[in-house]
Symmetry: C2
């Protein structure tokens, strides 16, 4: 099990660390050739259900890149699928739900999660991983709103029109739906931490589609139910979304130790919005990696410069690794962040920026 | 031709008006039954090329809703298509380009627009419209970046990965592409104003996918080339994008009289960001209209309250009317905005808010 100093956990807690820590959303799977070879023609959900595969897929990027954290190979729909909701991950499209959530009667299809019974394979994977990893393992779940959007839309959607129509057309039903999904996420995250995960990330990928008003009324209470429900555990809580520039303060208030920031908001503005005591994670545009190592390194340096060497920052992409990303580019970014990313008072050394003064 | 007082033009110029003006992006076409009947099985581009149809489609929403401005029935790809770039509007998908823009050689496929020669039908439509309309006509064009994204991606894209890869991989080629597209937009907009349009809107629908840094380096100079090139004409310039909260100040600086704001940014924050002397347009979430008249009216009232009765505000959706929107809901919103939307010093009457004091 991971023990000893961790730049990742230090940054999550706002403490200075030896170097700026880095990991990548979707580092496990997708663009790695060793992943594609290992998974073969199994579906993602099949691979998740086989701990020996899920362990190996989780470890692959840690070995290859030397990142500062591992993230469990799983998917945000796993608890839904495990409780009997028909959902598939369609390649090139995303989660597709067989029967859309449309009315109050559909609430009956959502039953509570019994983590050991329903997702024992996930917990077996977590336990096996923490026995071999020498970096922290991040567990995760889909946030109530984002999971609700897949249930209501039936799949990925550009404008979340059905979701918003239900939210405004039948607010109390929407609240009831989010409450159930909050309990699902909370049960899953608690079980992952109790099995050994060192930190958790709550993915509210599509919350950025909302007005502040709707976020505050509908989403904040549900996400707070999840994040506050983890407050007694010693695991930093990362709260992530895309296009959430206007919501960063609210996402912090939901009970986050770390708020994810996509590439749209400069880190300095993001820091002002989340306020003191909350760390940041992000904010390299994943599309830049497709332009090759040179442009990606230049952008990574720009992001590091905007982090200003302040503690409480985890380098990451602003969203997941895009399909087609060259793993060598990601490897170069890890090297660069480790070599050049400093925090103000790294333990045992002076501020390296002093040495650059003429 | 439109003459006399116009609440829409007053608001664009930051002047108080008798009521808050309102129009809807995509008010012409899409969700109107009379539009679907008139267009029949013609493609959108075919309908655009027939002035008698385009005139009638432009007028339909003005008659039905009593909005304060008409917007030309056309499409942002019209100048591209008119100069020989193979592009189609695929129903349910959007613009699809036959041969993607990939290398410097593709620049040769982009020739300058001769508005009368290439898009005489658009100008015929404008001239016919201004002879019958009693509200201002808004002309429009696609902004260089958004049009470039369709050329580079080959169609709509969730992450604009190819566009950003080209931007960072070959910056000078990308700049050359945007410069050509700026000239295309400018030529088209100038011709529309000279034919009688009272205002123009530059649609940079996907600029919100960019970092501030990329926007400032690549997009701002090109969009400024368009907007500043219209400065000598007496037509307010509206600059619109989605998810552009972090870019609003830059979009104003590009030379806009009015900046479009989607629903993510509260109007008060938007006003701070664009600074004095620039009007705002937006910011009702179009998805709310799908929930029915009650919820849509409640949200419209919330938006009006956030406008605080200050002059320089045009009520609109934060993006286009969604397919499936009930026209009656839009009609109710127009009524509500006209009845309840006031600016601080409407000509010839006191501040109506005074009458609400106890």
């Amino acid at each position: 099990m991971h023990a000893g100093p961790s730049p990742f956990l230090d940054a999550c807690r706002g403490r200075p660390s030896a170097h700026v820590p880095v990991w990548f959303m979707r580092q496990a799977g997708r663009s790695l050739p060793e992943y594609r070879e290992l998974r073969g023609d199994r579906s993602i959900l099949e691979a998740v259900r086989r701990p020996e595969l899920a362990v190996e897929i989780t470890l692959q990027p840690v070995r290859r890149y030397g990142v500062d954290a591992a993230i469990l190979f799983s998917d945000i729909v796993v608890p839904l699928a495990a409780t009997g909701v028909g959902v598939e991950l369609v390649p090139g499209r995303g989660p597709v739900v067989a029967d859309r959530f449309e009315s109050r009667a559909d609430l009956a299809r959502l039953r509570p999660l019994d983590p050991e019974q329903d997702t024992g394979y996930v917990l077996d994977t977590v336990r096996a991983l923490v026995s071999v990893l020498d970096v922290p393992l991040i567990g995760f779940a889909g946030a109530p709103f984002t999971v609700a959007s897949y249930l209501v839309e039936g799949g990925p959607s550009r404008d979340l029109a059905r979701t918003k129509a239900l939210m405004h057309g039948d607010p109390s039903l929407f609240e009831a739906l989010l409450e159930r999904l909050a309990d699902l996420a909370l049960a899953s995250l608690r079980s992952q931490v109790l099995a050994g995960a060192s930190a958790v990330q709550l993915f509210d990928s599509w919350a950025g589609a909302l007005t502040r008003h709707d976020y505050e009324r509908f989403v904040l209470p549900a996400s707070r139910r999840v994040l506050e429900g983890l407050a007694d555990l010693d695991a930093p809580r990362i709260h992530f979304g895309v296009g959430t520039g206007e919501l960063l303060d609210l996402m912090a208030r939901a009970g986050a130790d770390v708020v994810g920031v996509d590439w749209r908001v400069p880190l300095g503005s993001a820091r002002e919005r989340v306020g003191p005591g909350v760390s940041l994670q992000g904010n390299l545009d994943p599309a830049v990696c497709l332009a090759g190592a040179g442009p990606a390194e230049a952008e990574a340096r720009r992001v590091l410069a905007e982090a200003e060497g302040r503690p409480g920052y985890v380098f990451n992409l602003g969203h997941g690794v895009l399909p087609g990303t060259d793993p060598d580019v990601l490897a170069r970014i890890v090297e660069l962040v480790h070599d050049e990313g400093r925090t103000d008072a790294p333990p045992g050394r002076g501020d390296p920026r002093e040495h650059r003064e003429p």
